[in-house]
Subunit: 269 residues, 2 copies
């Protein structure tokens, strides 16, 4: 392993890393941040291309021999400087820049009978990370995000996804009407989740590819999204509750959907 | 409505409000913060006792006539000072201090065949808020939190709960062994969720009261919690995924549990 040292906080590599906390800079540079040993290990195991690996001086002194990751070159910076690079409250000792990979619609639709999740204007990075983690856990074939959603490569999303963002095909910045029309042309059943719908989600019989639409945390789905759906369904909840958190709703629907597909039928009432 | 004005940022009421961002101060004062018109409305509708209501000058000028909430007295502060009181990124214009209510075990266990959620050392305020919101949505009879969990009255938890924290009976600071023994003495079936368990949660037949145990985000459940459970179960997920987010896992289990209870039988395979 090659080792480099950086002394100046104004070094261009450090300036580049600081820019990766900003979504338009991430897009411009085609890079994103991966923080912490565990996430970096996940990224490497999923063949994510790491461009730079930076460690704090104390991490290098105490941990580098036990790192057990296939890394060519590390750059060491003083702890005080390193801590200004981290986006977490408790500095992680090691971080990397990674190349962003752009997924296509055909990657998201790879499996013919797959479940696809479509998020419209998801705003909260924690929610989006959890949606990605949950989609992978229930073997969704991919995730589509509309324009106006939070960036799936923001540090908070990467963390909340627990590394699932490295594996799940994710198509971003989609114009909703155009994309839903394309999905219909690919023989997909479009099911919109809406807390106000009277039909509950477990009544829908499913065959072939299903796309579940989930809306923004505050506003739900837009009128165009609802009008293009083949059906609009809800998860039955207590009348006094307005709605479920979007990631929780999505977990319930995906668990149910996956296990109905697998058992070949509908287990609902 | 009586109206008071505060000009000094060192005013004792403002100092008290600033302390409510800290959990030990909240405990000492027996108060917590409720921010924003929607949450304050929720609190009032659930008979939460509001002690002080503070609005920004511009909120007072533009919104107070349309507030439509039953509030005796409001205190106005300059926008610049008001914004230092808010714990949110975008200031909400109105906030209140509310009296904390302590729930007892018998309130949590009120319904004989109820579902109880037990969280051990839940750390993330967003997760805890979502757990509270989800528990109310699926009509759990209450939530129990072990010692070492994040404070359920922290501003972030209150917000993420979408006001469900005002309705759901919540028993806090419980010593896990002692509390689980008490629950068993109350004829409860204790089901622990553990991502490594081979038995899946939908195989368990349930009658009477059920307590679902969920562990810390990173560590899962402790050995004492696992050993006191009547059974240890998992939610089946993709082998490549380590686990689900705790609030998502809890949503899946509660949805399933509630609908099995209601239909009077087990809908699992």
């Amino acid at each position: 392993m090659k080792v480099k040292d950086i002394a100046s906080p104004k070094n261009s590599l450090l300036q580049k890393i600081r820019r990766l906390d900003n979504s338009s800079d991430r897009r411009e540079l085609g890079l994103f941040l991966v923080e912490g040993r565990k996430l970096i290990g996940e990224a490497l195991s999923k063949n994510v291309e790491l461009v730079d690996v930076i460690v704090s001086k104390s991490f290098f002194d105490q941990e580098i021999d036990r790192l057990a990751l296939d890394i060519d070159t590390v750059t060491i910076v003083q702890d005080k400087i390193f801590n200004t690079l981290c986006t977490t409250d408790s500095p992680c000792g090691i971080l990397a820049t990674a190349k962003a990979h752009k997924n296509t619609l055909s990657e998201v639709l790879k499996r013919e009978n797959g479940i696809v999740v479509f998020g419209e204007c998801i705003q909260d990075p924690g929610n989006l990370g959890t949606i990605i983690r949950t989609a992978l856990a229930f073997e969704a074939s991919g995730l589509i995000l509309s324009r106006g959603s939070v960036d799936h490569l923001s540090p908070k999303v990467v963390r909340a996804s627990m590394g699932a963002v490295f594996s799940l095909p994710i198509l971003v910045e989609q114009e909703i009407e155009n994309c839903l029309k394309q999905l219909k042309a690919h023989d997909s059943l479009i099911i919109a989740l809406d807390a106000k719908a009277s039909q509950t989600f477990d009544f829908v019989r499913r065959e072939g590819r299903v796309v579940y639409l989930f809306g923004n945390e505050g506003q739900g789905l837009s009128a165009p999204a609802l009008s293009l759906a083949d059906c609009v369904v809800s998860i039955p909840i207590n009348e006094a509750s307005e709605s479920l958190n979007v990631a929780v709703a999505m977990g319930i629907v995906l668990y149910h959907s996956k296990h109905c597909f697998e058992s070949g039928g509908d287990r609902s009432r």
